[in-house]
């Protein structure tokens, strides 16, 4: 399988108004030197706690945000410095869907127009008859009653809105969809419908997914490979099986120890799994960003910036112990 997406040393720093001690501009290092590849047809899961840079990463990949540095290769092309007009052709093949099914759909547009918007902007259909046919087909594929064509988003439940979001992303038959917490706002029974729909569509259309979530259970279910983010960096990346069976980075281990599981009484003892809070991404710790909270910290950890190193086949860890 070929690589559909390759990102190298990608950074997205946001300037912030408060200046540092010496009057240098300060930045939020939302995405800080991230590299990985995603193969065609696979699902790459990205996990991490809020504020670690998952959404910024998703948007920078699609160039909805211009990278501060580093590169994004998509489908064999370096799109890092593509102009907006050149991006338009690329966007046809890369779509995004968001967490909040309430905020992400324009309340004044009908369902039909929402779904057709990407095809309208990219002019992928020739005439209105073809457009309508395609909308109806998308509604069917995504399990929305086609009688609802001319209704507005507020008439739909959260799960139905997420289906509309999927239909919209699919409308231009993209190769890649970045799913930013697509099921996080949904109840389990609705969540399972949306996950099944995504998996089914992926198989049918050979879609490549970047699936962002803070819910490790969902990511474990849906992903082929998983990357773990902490303070803007990927600290570990491996196949799903390998990551959940042999978590190696101390942060990944802490995350897995923290997830509540049915049938386990994980939280009986008092010893904390991790101390303290996530440091500010404006002034990230020196050396390894995790060293301030790491249960396995060594003196060198505050000095040396660890790099992702291979510890097993396709299993990369950024920790000087490995």
């Amino acid at each position: 399988m070929s690589n559909l997406l390759e990102i190298s040393n990608l950074k997205k720093w946001f300037p912030v108004s408060s200046r540092s001690l010496w009057g240098k501009p300060a930045y939020v290092r939302a995405v800080d030197d991230v590299s990985f590849v995603v193969k065609e047809g696979e699902t790459m899961g990205i996990v991490g706690e809020s504020g670690c840079g998952k959404s910024t990463l998703g948007r920078t990949i699609l160039k909805l945000l211009q990278p501060t540095s580093g590169s994004v290769h998509f489908d064999g092309e370096d799109i890092t410095s593509f102009s907006n007009s050149r991006m338009r052709a690329v966007r046809r093949n890369m779509q995004i869907m968001f967490q909040d099914p309430y905020a992400s759909l324009d309340p004044r547009m009908t369902i039909a127009n929402i779904i057709a918007e990407p095809m309208d902007t990219m002019k992928t259909v020739q005439n209105s008859e073809q457009r309508l046919d395609h909308i109806v087909e998308l509604l069917e594929v995504c399990g929305i009653n086609k009688a609802f064509l001319n209704r507005y988003p507020h008439e739909f439940s959260g799960g139905q809105r997420q289906r509309i979001g999927i239909a919209r992303a699919l409308s231009v038959m993209p190769k890649l969809i970045v799913c930013d917490e697509p099921v996080s706002a949904l109840d389990v029974s609705i969540q399972s419908q949306i996950i099944n729909l995504l998996v089914d569509l992926q198989r049918r259309f050979n879609l490549t997914l970047v699936f962002i979530s803070h819910d490790l259970g969902v990511v474990e279910y849906i992903s082929d490979r998983v990357g773990v983010m902490y303070l803007g960096k990927i600290v570990e990346i491996a196949s799903k099986r390998e990551l959940f069976a042999h978590p190696t980075h101390p942060y990944t281990k802490a995350l897995l120890l923290s997830i509540p599981e049915i049938g386990s009484r994980k939280f009986e003892d008092e010893t904390p799994i991790l101390e303290g809070d996530i440091p500010s991404p404006i002034n990230p710790p020196s050396g390894c960003p995790f060293h301030t909270r790491c249960p396995e910290v060594m003196p060198d950890c505050s000095q040396i910036v660890p790099e992702l190193k291979e510890v097993g086949e396709g299993h990369l860890v950024s920790c000087i112990r490995h």
Binding site: S50, E220, P260, K266, F267
Partner: protein, 328 residues
């Protein structure tokens, strides 16, 4: 475990009078909370978990109303208490922690002053004593440098820290029951783990009962002793934690467990519950879950089930009633 009853809820009915009709949020539920236990209440959004908790504290406000039932604490009906009795009941008997700590803390006062205030409403102590007690509480909920945090404002604290401040405040009067309504839903998993460990510690150290409300089955399984499953304002199943998760009886409980991705690692498809939750503004015939139930028969659609005991599990389902085998 000794099962001394702390709170007894009988036929609680809570309704909201809305423009488009009367909404039955809690539909005649009965249950008990035992001394020192962790009781988990689970169900999907809108099933009546928060309204149940607010009803226990007699905190339902118009257009809502507790339209029927009793809530008994030491033989006294909370719903009949006067203002003074209620004030001492809330705090000394039951205290509650809400999901969104930022909206329940006052942004213009330091966290220390806010906890002092609660202590002084309920106890006659000097400001110095209140401060000492507050710092002790902050330490109890694992807040580092409590003397320093005492003087900080809510916005200076992280989400997890604020949630712990809320818990400290709720503990100010040594309540016998602490109700936590989705206490970790807005928190990240490592912070959630800290809060869940804290809840377990408090229960052990203070011999307090906990009523933990959440939509997250894994959280409930991790820390509850007993579990109540709610659907559309009713209790559909009630049992000890192990029974619920190893031997679910109600078809809704069974379906919920089958929908969870982490329990279905190797299956091809996740289970899907068809259809939607019933409209609580309408009257319904028969079982509220029947339209979505795999096992439903004619009787389920026409006759309301009554609660029955199977082993030690209480379940609201025709399948477990005597006449199921011959039912139409």
């Amino acid at each position: 475990m000794a099962q001394e009853v702390l709170i007894q809820v009988k036929d609680l009915l809570t309704q909201f009078r809305l423009d488009d009709g009367l909404l039955t949020a809690v539909n005649g539920i009965s249950f008990e909370i035992h001394k020192g236990e962790t009781l988990g209440i689970v169900g999907e959004s809108g099933c009546g978990k928060s309204v149940t908790a607010l009803s226990l504290l007699n905190l339902i406000e118009p257009p809502g109303k507790v339209a029927g039932g009793e809530i008994l604490c030491d033989g006294v009906n909370v719903l009949k208490m006067n203002k003074r009795e209620l004030r001492s009941f809330r705090g000394n008997q039951i205290a509650m922690v809400f999901q969104e700590p930022m909206t329940s803390l006052n942004p213009v006062f330091t966290v220390g002053n806010q906890i002092d205030e609660v202590i002084r409403i309920h106890n006659r102590v000097s400001s110095h004593e209140a401060r000492e007690r507050t710092i002790e509480l902050l330490r109890l909920v694992n807040i580092p440098l409590p003397e320093q945090r005492y003087g900080e404002y809510p916005h200076q604290l992280s989400g997890g820290m604020r949630q712990r401040v809320m818990i400290a405040m709720a503990l100010a009067c040594n309540p016998k029951l602490l109700i936590c309504d989705e206490p970790t839903t807005a928190l990240d998993v490592t912070v959630q783990a800290q809060v869940l460990k804290l809840i377990n510690k408090l229960k052990r150290q203070m011999d307090m009962a906990i009523m933990l409300i959440t939509h997250d089955l894994a959280v409930i399984s991790s820390i509850a002793d007993r579990v109540i499953i709610m659907y559309a304002g009713q209790i559909v199943e009630e049992a000890i934690e192990r029974e619920i998760f190893t031997n679910p009886l109600h078809p809704y409980t069974e379906a919920l467990l089958k929908s969870i991705p982490s329990l279905s690692k190797n299956t091809e498809e996740l289970y899907m519950i068809k259809g939607m939750v019933p409209n609580l503004l309408q009257r319904h015939e028969g079982c509220l879950f029947a339209p979505r139930c795999e096992y439903a028969r004619e009787i389920c659609r026409s006759v309301e089930p009554s609660s029955c005991l199977v082993g030690n599990t209480k379940v609201l389902c025709h399948k477990y009633m005597d006449d199921w085998e011959v039912a139409p």
